[in-house]
């Protein structure tokens, strides 16, 4: 048998006779009859050109983000995608490689990880960044489990802001339930922001960490210095999770305000929005907690000739070496997406990222002003709270109904909060990025006016 070619009838007969079986059904006899499907009702096979044409026609009935004014965000953001990102990404040396288990032979991969760590560390204000994680939600989970370890398992409570993305909190619940860690959720005040005194009350002396998101799920920027102080007053670690990484181009990362962990989602850096990902988690902490950090690190060193070289360090605490005692059961890093983020950030540069973030902020503020000018029945839920590139819009119907009504006006207006519950109004999360043109904003405002 050739490894690239599947088993033919002759091969199957041979395998079955070696096994002393008469038919394929005998091979699968141990599968209960109740879970077996007795034939599938499928049409006859079609040829490739028919399939391409038919599926292409079906796909063309979708409303595409790029051909429609699109204001979707809520944790997944659409930003510029310089061609250099995909050009580097699609090189086979990167594209087809799996995580290096004999890492030092893959100097290119290690250099990318090293540069990724350096860039992320500079953005979050914490000195140590790991080689990446799967996504923002698992990064939050890792930050919580990390805090639990740092305090040696003596504090079983985690205080979590309600304004952390609801999907992230669901992933966190899955882990904490299994780990026997209790979660207390703190709701925001009437301005959509967290109150440090409420956090102090809930955390008491039992919390291993206080986890918050900024800009939060409602797009609002939290008061990071005050929240870090509140966490530390309770003897807990302060954890910041970021879902819109581009905000770090303008907003100072929590590390500079005393946060012990800054982690989150870096999809905004060069990873196009897609159904279910891939996404890119990042995790940064201070050197004093290095040994409790999940995952691995690439380090810079010199080879035997004294030339610059890279090595993999800290993988000693990973799953393939430590098994059940590993710091995390995520054993690999999100290598290809970390490469995308690295190339994207290096293409932008520091001033480019700042310009991009400023442009998001300016367009968002413009749209907010124009919505305020329309007035009733449209209302910005938290008009006096600072936002970056997203805000909650309340209108004459529920969020889910507004999505449909505004889509029929030709605008993908936002993500409804209807099904997620929460202590905030039912409305639409509206995200504005540099990809939204002046015409997009005009279309949005016109659609709202039509429905007024």
């Amino acid at each position: 048998m050739h490894p690239w070619v599947g088993a033919g009838p002759e091969d199957r007969r041979h395998i079955l006779s070696e096994l002393g079986l008469k038919s394929i059904d005998d091979l699968f006899a141990s599968i209960p009859a109740g879970v077996c499907v007795d034939g599938l009702d499928l049409p006859p096979a079609k040829d490739e050109s028919w399939i391409r044409r038919t599926l292409g026609e079906m796909a063309s009935t979708n409303v595409a983000m790029d051909s429609t004014p699109c204001f979707l965000g809520a944790g997944v953001y659409r930003h510029v995608q310089p061609s250099v990102v995909d050009a580097v990404l699609s090189r086979a040396e990167f594209f087809t490689s799996y995580t290096p288990y004999q890492p030092e032979i893959s100097q290119g991969t290690l250099q990318v990880i090293f540069e990724f760590q350096t860039l992320i560390s500079r953005l979050t204000g914490l000195d140590v960044a790991n080689a990446s994680l799967y996504d923002g939600a698992t990064a939050l989970v890792e930050a919580v489990l990390f805090s639990h370890r740092v305090l040696r398992g003596k504090r079983e409570l985690v205080v979590v802001a309600e304004t952390i993305h609801p999907m992230y909190r669901r992933v966190l619940d899955t882990y904490t339930r299994a780990a026997g860690i209790e979660v207390a959720v703190v709701s925001p005040g009437t301005d959509g922001r967290l109150d440090p005194d409420t956090i102090r009350k809930v955390a008491g002396d039992r919390a291993c960490c206080v986890a918050i998101q900024s800009p939060n799920f409602l797009g609002i920027i939290e008061d990071l210095p005050q929240l870090a102080t509140a966490a530390h007053d309770c003897g807990a670690l302060a954890v910041e999770v970021v879902t819109e990484a581009v905000s770090l181009g303008l907003l100072t990362g929590g590390g500079s305000f005393g946060f012990d962990v800054v982690c989150g989602e870096a999809q905004s850096f060069g990873v196009a929005p897609g159904f279910g990902g891939p996404h890119l988690g990042f995790f940064t902490c201070s050197p004093k907690h290095l040994r409790q950090m999940p995952g691995r690190l690439a380090g810079e060193t010199v080879d035997e000739d004294g030339a610059r070289a890279f090595c993999l360090t800290l993988s000693t605490r990973e799953q393939h070496i430590r098994r059940a005692k590993a710091t995390s059961n995520i054993c690999t890093n999100q290598g290809l997406m970390a490469l995308a983020a690295t190339v994207w950030l290096e293409a932008m540069g520091g001033s480019g990222l700042r310009e991009l973030a400023s442009s998001c902020l300016a367009r968002t503020e413009e749209l907010k002003r124009r919505i305020a000018a329309i007035g009733d029945p449209w209302r910005i839920a938290y008009p006096h709270s600072p936002t970056f590139n997203e805000f909650l819009l309340v209108g004459p119907a529920s969020g889910i109904e507004l999505v449909e009504q505004l889509a029929s006006e030709g605008v993908l207006a936002g993500v409804p909060t209807t099904d997620w519950g929460g202590s905030w109004p039912d409305g639409l999360l509206v995200a504005v990025t540099e990809r939204n043109s002046a015409e997009d904003l005009d279309a949005f405002v016109a659609a709202l006016e039509t429905l007024s």
């Binding site: 040994r291 000693t316 605490r317 070496i321 005692k325």
Partner: protein, 127 residues
């Protein structure tokens, strides 16, 4: 391979030295040799109590992380703070400056080996 006469040993390569009412614990020359260059030592908190065989802490070398276990039951009275900045003491002087913890408790009546017994154990293990 140095195996001092005056110490007791367990089968996971820790040594025990009786010191008044307490015992001092470290890892053997053989253990540090197997581990390679130690880069980080994670020590228990003073005041915590351990049963025989409990994990006291971890030793991290360049390529692996290993636990060290309590050879006798007891409470941690003192840990070797010098290891925080000089983890290599575990390699350089495993029976002296590279000690790990001081535990309340006694080696008497414990299932421990003397130097000859430990030597024999090493030979059997490598056979």
């Amino acid at each position: 391979m140095s195996i001092p006469e005056e110490l007791k040993y367990d089968r996971s390569h820790e040594w025990v030295k009786t010191d008044g009412d307490a015992v001092v614990v470290g890892i053997t020359h053989y253990a540090q040799d197997q581990l390679g260059e130690v880069v980080y030592v994670e020590l228990p908190e003073v005041g915590n109590a351990f049963a025989v065989g409990d994990e006291l802490g971890t030793l991290e070398s360049v390529k692996a992380v290993s636990e060290f276990l309590a050879p006798v039951a007891g409470e941690v009275l003192e840990v070797n703070d010098r290891l925080e900045d000089e983890p290599n003491l575990v390699n350089d002087d495993p029976y002296g400056d590279g000690w790990l913890v001081r535990l309340s408790g006694s080696a008497d009546g414990q299932d421990l080996l003397d130097a000859a017994g430990y030597q024999e154990f090493l030979i059997q293990e490598s056979a």
